[in-house]
Symmetry: C2
Subunit: 463 residues, 2 copies
Amino acid sequence: MTNILPVLDHAAADLPASLERLFELVRIKSISTDPAYGAECRKAAEWLVAELRSLGFDAAVRETPGHPMVVAHHDGPREDAPHVLFYGHYDVQPVDPLNLWDNDPFEPAVRDIEGGRRIITGRGTSDDKGQLMTFVEACRAYKETQGALPCRVSILFEGEEESGSPSLKPFLEANAAELTADCALVCDTSMWDFETPAISAGLRGLVGEEIVVRAANRDLHSGYYGGAAANPIHVLAEILAGLHDESGRVTLEGFYDGVEETPSQIKAAWDTLGTTAESFLGEIGLSVPSGEKGRSVLELTWARPTAEVNGIVGGYTGDGFKTVIAAEASAKVSFRLVGKQDPGSIRDAFRAYVQSKIPSDCSVSFHAHGGSPAIQLPYDSPLLTKAKDALSDEWSKPAVVIGMGGSIPIVGDFQKMLGMESLLVGFGLSDDRIHSPNEKYELRSFEKGIRSWIRILAAIASK
Amino acid sequence: MTNILPVLDHAAADLPASLERLFELVRIKSISTDPAYGAECRKAAEWLVAELRSLGFDAAVRETPGHPMVVAHHDGPREDAPHVLFYGHYDVQPVDPLNLWDNDPFEPAVRDIEGGRRIITGRGTSDDKGQLMTFVEACRAYKETQGALPCRVSILFEGEEESGSPSLKPFLEANAAELTADCALVCDTSMWDFETPAISAGLRGLVGEEIVVRAANRDLHSGYYGGAAANPIHVLAEILAGLHDESGRVTLEGFYDGVEETPSQIKAAWDTLGTTAESFLGEIGLSVPSGEKGRSVLELTWARPTAEVNGIVGGYTGDGFKTVIAAEASAKVSFRLVGKQDPGSIRDAFRAYVQSKIPSDCSVSFHAHGGSPAIQLPYDSPLLTKAKDALSDEWSKPAVVIGMGGSIPIVGDFQKMLGMESLLVGFGLSDDRIHSPNEKYELRSFEKGIRSWIRILAAIASK
């Protein structure tokens, strides 16, 4: 087994340069959901290709009907070395409302905050540019000290993760042989807390739907027509209010098909983590769990399905008041899935429910925004055990195996389409404000993240 | 009694110049709800003052804490001539969404449409610039033919009617003696149909409220927090969905206090007007009355109170999808009042209801946007009878006395604060698209509106 101490030392010494490379990537405004930023997404892909080529990867921008992929390959030290596929995404969330940012989201910087912590500020620093760069910089440390990587490494960087990954499945299908490795390494998750590394073994699935309810053929004066004409905001409010019953359960027919109770020993292990409703919600200014009654916040966010309205708009929303009855109103709704819930069935049940609530003289249209089932990874595979030990060594604290509320659809696709197990390791923190103003990444996460991948790659390479 | 034929003839001959003057006023972007247009509101007031001075009025722009008033006075032909106060408003509604307008809202023009009709297009042409100019042009025709007006005429033009008239009551109170006349003439209402003039005797009141529901202290990722953190859009949907019961009645406690059933002979008279749910709603692409069950559309819009959501917004509403749980969500809600419903009590009941639905870790703030009780004018006053005859003569069809769904708060203020009866005559049509894109005013309404005021002023002047 390679002596990794010089590699770790090199990573530490090279940190200022590593940071400068991350900043270059963060400055590129690769917002994938907004068509106005298409050229910036391509620029990010091209920047990554150049970076990987400089490390000796055979790398290329690969076209899709949407934003391009980055695919790169590097030989291992021997023919029989393990082959890993690393996945990350270079696209980022929109930045509105811009006025809530303390600093320019696309001008990253290292800033000192309370408690002696140092953070890297900017959109994408945590989700996912900072994370994917921990792996790239780990490869750099190997190359610059050993002249080689300990494993055969392939890389796939996506540019549509924040917009439902429409091109991903066709791309995996068309390039299955090229992309299949012994396992996948996915860096898009969080630590347990500031001190404790974590490996995620459960991921909720996701179904996104946008609905537009239409009533009159134009906006109406609420004085002339109020009380007689259908108001699409009322229809929408009825639909959304009816999604949950009084116990917090989702009311869609068959919604809980395929949802199993979490084993009691798993729940007991989670209970020992010390997370309470007060601690989990207190940090965001709340205190009362809003979902299904009688379940812990970890169970609610890791192991239970949800329905959430992510956006709503209709009628006059500017300053002042306008006594209008809108012609249409719309909402974006997402469902988090667990267990064996089927995304297609959930979507169908939602559409049938919505349709049943539409008055006969109104109409509704639906727009699908991504769908993926939940994932449950084995708790006891050799890959997971090696990674757990490597992380525990780096952080001087045992790594914990946790569930995760978010969705990383690609993990299911790797499993189903390429037959690959995934290892989900990331260095984000729950207060990184991903998808919100003032996103940040801990400098410590970036630094020790690079070192963690150096250790994990060495562990995977060892027999 | 003055021979009004030369006056009517002059108005007809002068129509092109009258139109050009209206166009000048419509070109001024006097949107009162949007602070960005404050200077334009003042410009409209100044334009009107100059216009009235050119007709011999003693006119002035009068300051308020908001947009200014225009007040003008003109002597009558004799000391004992009746004294009328004419009211209109120079402010207009916002024009968004601008892309739904076929023509620039602030570049008025006369256009030919189907059925040989000619319309004046532009924001405010019907509500209320075109209407108030019918009266100004009637005065002009008198002055240019007779050198005098048949009555003593005072004028009050407001610039905040579309934003809840916050300055109106204090202004009336401070200038009560100056503004009190024998009666008020208000031109902000509609005809019964294209052929049939109407006098409005019932006006619904209005209470406007904006609510902002706040949950977490920042926008959240729905993967991390979904299922545990309160979603303010859900809270808002519950509140709004609960405003009506299954029979379409408003659920607020005490909401129907002071609401009386419409006398059966009035309902019978309305039934003879031939308006059905099909005809009333068909024109706007709907067919099913949405409000209280078992009532005609005229009763629903003229004589029944309502709750309508005029606008809602929360979370991500741009292109694509963002899996966010918003920190806040807001809605603008208005109530139309009838009978003796008390605006203050309705507002209190709404706020108490909303507060009762807010989870203990969330909060809500309220913003009042105007409040006025309903008005019911006598069906048989001498003023109304004179106006009815004058209108019937001009339009060669009997004028009808109708209810009105909209709210004109000033009519109540004139009654309560100045002890004046109001005459509500207007020449709008239900398809004028006031408050919507493509607002228009019939050229015929403008032309015959001027002639109608010439006749009504003569009728009021006669003993």
